[in-house]
Symmetry: C2
Subunit: 308 residues, 2 copies
């Protein structure tokens, strides 16, 4: 059985005529006859009663239901890959907690506005998990800290983040090494690249054993930092965006440690669904012209200006 045959069969059933079906499907009548005949032979049942008026037999009526569902699924599948059509289906994005909180909302909003038929599935996790997840096909694309050194990867820098040391008290300058050595650090769970920065920072100060508490969410972490539980390392914009809710203070990290880029990574473009292509377009445009998107970072900066 062939999809072509089912298409022809359906058209014959709809129009009630072999000739009409042939014209609508841009072929000739004899071809219609041949396809119907082939179907009938395969199923060993007359599907169409051709005595005078063309009508479906019982067998034909039984088949037409399945033909409809097969063909509609087929049409849907085709439309999913139609390049010029509005993209549909799923888009499974993986992103770090901080990126999700700070950077993605305006971009996702813009994307959803432009392509409302795409179902977005956003999953957060540390960089290492995200990369693994994408390799295993669990994410279509990911936002991670730093470059991913993997061949055959579509990769571009999405955001520049300035990391700061966050504490519950005001800091005029970086804390002394001995102070940091005994301090507790709050970080996301294993795999978060910012966490590696903590260790890098400590190493700079000659400190190698650090006490690190793990947190799953940004809110929990900032809440604990605010009450003085310890230090955290986070993007400056993230801290600023939340400062109106948490009484936290920050101090810039040395440039070579504090500068980190968030990259957008996805498999090669020829494996993309149209939804992924559309998302990459929106993302690229938002990154190049940040003004065109609502930047919640800048809004909250103004907000918090009142509080600081």
């Amino acid at each position: 059985m062939q999809l072509k045959s089912l298409r022809i069969f359906r058209e014959v059933a709809r129009t009630g005529s072999f000739v009409a079906a042939a014209e609508l499907l841009h072929t000739v009548q004899s071809n219609v006859t041949a396809h119907i005949k082939k179907l009938e032979e395969e199923l060993d049942a007359k599907l169409i009663d051709r005595h005078g008026t063309v009508r479906l037999t019982s067998a034909g009526q039984a088949l037409i239901q399945y033909a409809e569902s097969i063909l509609s699924a087929h049409d849907e599948a085709l439309s999913l890959f139609q390049k010029n059509a509005s993209p549909r289906g799923y888009l499974r994005i993986g992103a770090m907690e901080t990126t999700t909180a700070l950077r993605l909302p305006p971009i996702l909003a813009k994307f959803h506005e432009m392509h409302p038929e795409v179902d977005i599935k956003l999953q957060t996790g540390p960089t290492a998990d995200l990369i693994k997840g994408m390799m295993e096909g669990k994410h279509d694309c990911i936002f991670v800290a730093g470059k991913v050194n993997h061949p055959r990867l579509h990769l571009f820098k999405a955001f520049d983040e300035q990391l700061v040391l966050v504490a519950g008290r005001h800091m005029d300058e970086m804390p002394e090494p001995h102070e940091l050595q005994t301090a507790t650090f709050l970080a996301f769970r294993q795999g978060c690249s910012y966490r590696q920065r903590i260790e890098l920072l400590m190493a700079n100060y000659g400190v190698y054993a650090t006490r690190i508490f793990e947190f799953g969410t940004l809110d929990a972490m900032l809440g604990c930092v605010a009450v003085g539980m310890g230090y955290a390392i986070l993007p400056r914009k993230t801290v600023e965006a939340h400062r109106h809710r948490f009484d936290v203070h920050s101090h810039p990290l040395p440039k070579e440690i504090g500068q980190v880029a968030t990259y957008y990574a996805a498999p090669e473009t020829d494996t993309w669904t149209p939804a992924m292509t559309a998302f990459a377009d929106v993302l690229r445009r938002a990154v190049l012209q940040p003004e065109s998107c609502v930047d919640i970072g800048s809004i909250t900066k103004n907000d918090t200006a009142v509080h600081t």
Copy 2:
């Protein structure tokens, strides 16, 4: 896009190997490659990541969902026509009110017991409507009074019915012509063949204008006959089956009028669904060996023997 290609694609996705898929589908590896390649060209997207381990890309994962639904519908359609498999799908039976009430229950019960996966749709109506309905494809098969003189019809006698004159009072012999002439007859609506018998009977008696009330259901008709509203003409077994509920009396009609056969009619066998074939089998067996089926007629005959 072709069903074959989707089958191959699904198998590759399941097994994670071109070679394994080829073996399972009884073909060669190069053919698998070709089909996948064709799909990828048609959709203009890489569906499978062949680096080391074979895995679906985002595009592949998007497609596989549709492939599954297309193929499962296809498989269902095929199984519907599989001759040796247990029949499934719909069976739309049309039958006269009296046949439905008296003859069909044991047969339908037997059929349902043997083929529980078939959905039976039983519709009642007068003979003329049933024939029209079947010609229009609304019924798969019908039970009608008398032969249907149409070529290309599968037709066989299912039941012999003995028609009787039914009244609310006892009749030692046929009522006198003048009695019948002024009487009211109760019949099913236009198209019922038993109704024609009334007119035939009247003509025999030289009566041409008869007063006929129309009823939609057997119960309503018998109820009205019981309270003396008029006469009815019905199969003897039908009357007997209901006599314990209605106080009605009957008298045999003259043989040439009273003898009527119920025929089973369906389009030619090559238009049948397996469900229809199975039903015809059950029916034929029940007709040939009435004992093998529970005969509600005979049961109620014993029941009513107490009442008469």
